[in-house]
């Protein structure tokens, strides 16, 4: 293990800052057929909701230049099944486990966060107030600073583990939301979720995705992520887990310079299922190239 890659965030002592992003990795079972998940700094599980959820009709995905749209709709087997089957399975690996929590009402979030925060092995919660693909809840909690703060406070009250609030870029001023959740007690911020987008089928003139709109992810959104992390870092003190368009080790440095203390890799896992271990492997060489001594030492370097 390379000590230069080590990072430390509330609840998360990570051997490296790289983890697969929620929703792009399931619960890790498929990827574990290809590589040892203990290589990862952490794993962010697919969103958990209070009850099982089927999600949206198909098509749920469409490719775009430099990325893709998705409207899965938070399909998951429900928090109880995740605690019973997925968390114990993931515990076999030497890696941090972050539980992504979603809901359609404050009570759902609180119930799910309380349950999963008590599950053995879960190191932190990522509070998903930014899913653009569900009719109720999700993004509705992430676009109003007051609503976001009230939910954060309610979840913090019941959670046994640190809470990272995952913010939506689909707002006028993301800094206001970040400050509001910090004031409400969030231990950290996770950003950015997908940007809302749409594609039309040229033959039918109708949206390709059944949900009509979908969340844009992939390399194309990296500049938006960098800009927003940069702006939020200037205004809040709690650490940021950065995500949005990372496909290579150089991107990790860029997001960390902007202000991220750790990063998540999403869509790149679909292009190359080995994306995360390859990025981790490439990091020391890229750090040498840009004269980076330790990763923990470059967080927010763009501001100095």
């Amino acid at each position: 293990m390379d000590e230069r890659l080590r990072v430390s965030l509330p609840g998360l002592e990570m051997k490296n800052p790289v983890m697969p992003a929620s929703g792009c990795f399931g619960f890790g079972r498929e990827f574990a057929e290809l590589y040892d998940l203990s290589l990862l700094g952490g794993v962010v599980m697919k969103a958990a909701t209070a009850s099982p959820k089927f999600g949206n009709p198909t098509p749920r995905v469409a490719e775009t230049p430099g990325g893709m749209l998705n409207a899965i709709g938070l399909q998951n087997p429900g928090v109880d099944a995740i605690i019973e089957r997925e968390v114990p399975w993931l515990r076999q690996f030497d890696t941090c486990i972050i539980a992504n929590v979603a809901g359609s009402a404050q009570e759902d979030y609180v119930e799910t966060a309380e349950k999963i925060g008590r599950a053995e092995g879960v190191d932190a919660i990522e509070l998903n107030i930014s899913c653009p693909n569900v009719k109720e809840g999700g993004i509705a909690f992430g676009t109003d600073p007051k609503v976001a703060a009230s939910l954060t406070a309610a979840v913090k009250e019941v959670s046994k583990v640190p809470v990272y609030v995952k913010l939506s870029p689909n707002v006028t001023d993301i800094v206001q939301i970040a400050k509001a959740v910090e004031a409400a007690g969030a231990d950290g911020i996770s950003m950015i979720n997908t940007l809302m987008g749409m594609r039309l089928d040229l033959k039918t003139a109708r949206p390709i995705i059944a949900n009509k709109t979908g969340g844009l992810s992939g390399a194309a959104i990296k500049p938006v992520a960098v800009r927003m992390i940069y702006q939020v870092y200037e205004q809040v003190k709690i650490p940021i887990i950065g995500m949005g368009g990372i496909t290579k080790a150089e991107d990790v440095l860029e997001l960390m310079y902007a202000g991220a203390s750790a990063v998540a890799v999403g869509t790149a896992n679909f292009t190359d299922p080995y994306a995360c271990p390859k990025i981790i492997e490439a990091l020391p060489g890229v750090m040498d190239k840009y004269r980076v001594d330790t990763l923990s030492g470059i967080v927010g370097k763009a501001h100095r």
Binding site: K46, T58, R60, G67, I72, F270, T271, D272
Partner: protein, 249 residues
């Protein structure tokens, strides 16, 4: 499941916008009829999930029959023999090889591909009466006939515009010619497969749906069980092959 570089042995135009690509790599040894590979086209975020049409395990060679439908498959068509391409596979469940007195294989357009290996294996399993029905939009789109005739299997062709064979679609051909069989396997457009499901109580369908990861992680390609609305399947993992009557699509 492996992620490896495969050598391109052939990549030729065989019908309108339709290509045969022959690849060579070690994942071939685990292939079953009806499975697919997910092929990386440099410059694109998502891979192209393509059914394996046939394979030769001794030579480690497998064939993809694919249609150019967009920019990604266009780039695939421009790939050169001798170059390599990154592929993940085998993916999906594949066709169960069942025994029956008579079997009908029904392919629509790009759905013809996966039926080739299936026909070979059904024949090897001892089924004496296998017939193939293929439907295409027009004469220039027709492909695959020689693959079945090489196996000694007769192919019935329909074209929507009547420029070759039966004038109409594959299902209309089956009705008009009174083709019957104990069971059917089908791959093609949704409406065609739904009509096949109405005609045959026993058999299998192979679904084509937009996918992202192709390996069961992203929940991009799910379908619901017909009987139990709380049960679902990932087309890339529990599919793409389902029993007739099993799923709502």
């Amino acid at each position: 499941m492996k992620d490896e570089r495969a050598k391109i042995l052939e990549n030729t135009l065989i019908a309108a916008d339709t290509y045969r690509m022959v690849l060579q790599s070690s994942l071939c040894e685990d292939l079953k009829a009806g499975q697919f590979v997910n092929l990386l086209v440099p410059g694109f975020t998502l891979r192209r999930p393509i059914s394996v049409s046939s394979f030769d395990k001794e030579a480690e060679e497998y064939t993809l029959l694919y249609k150019v439908l967009g920019e990604g498959t266009q780039k695939m068509a421009e790939m050169k023999v001798g170059d390599t391409v990154q592929v993940i596979g085998p993916l999906g469940n594949g066709f169960p090889i069942e025994t029956a007195e008579s079997i009908l294989l029904i392919g629509g357009g790009a759905g013809t591909g996966p039926l080739v290996q299936l026909a070979k294996e059904l024949k090897d399993a001892g089924c004496r009466k296998i017939r193939v029905v293929l439907g295409f939009p027009t004469k220039e789109d027709i492909y695959g006939v020689e693959d079945f005739s090489a196996l000694g299997i007769r192919t019935h062709i329909s074209t929507d515009d009547g420029t070759y064979g039966f004038h109409g679609n594959a299902v209309e051909l089956i009705r008009a010619e009174g083709l019957t069989a104990e069971m059917a396997y089908t791959c093609g457009p949704k409406r065609m497969m739904q009509a096949v499901e109405e005609l045959f109580g026993r058999g299998y369908i192979s679904l084509d749906i937009r996918m992202a990861c192709g390996m069961g992680a992203c929940m991009g390609c799910v379908v619901k069980d017909k009987a139990d609305p709380d049960k679902y399947y990932r087309v890339c993992k529990e599919g793409p092959v389902f029993r007739i009557g099993q799923v709502d699509y």
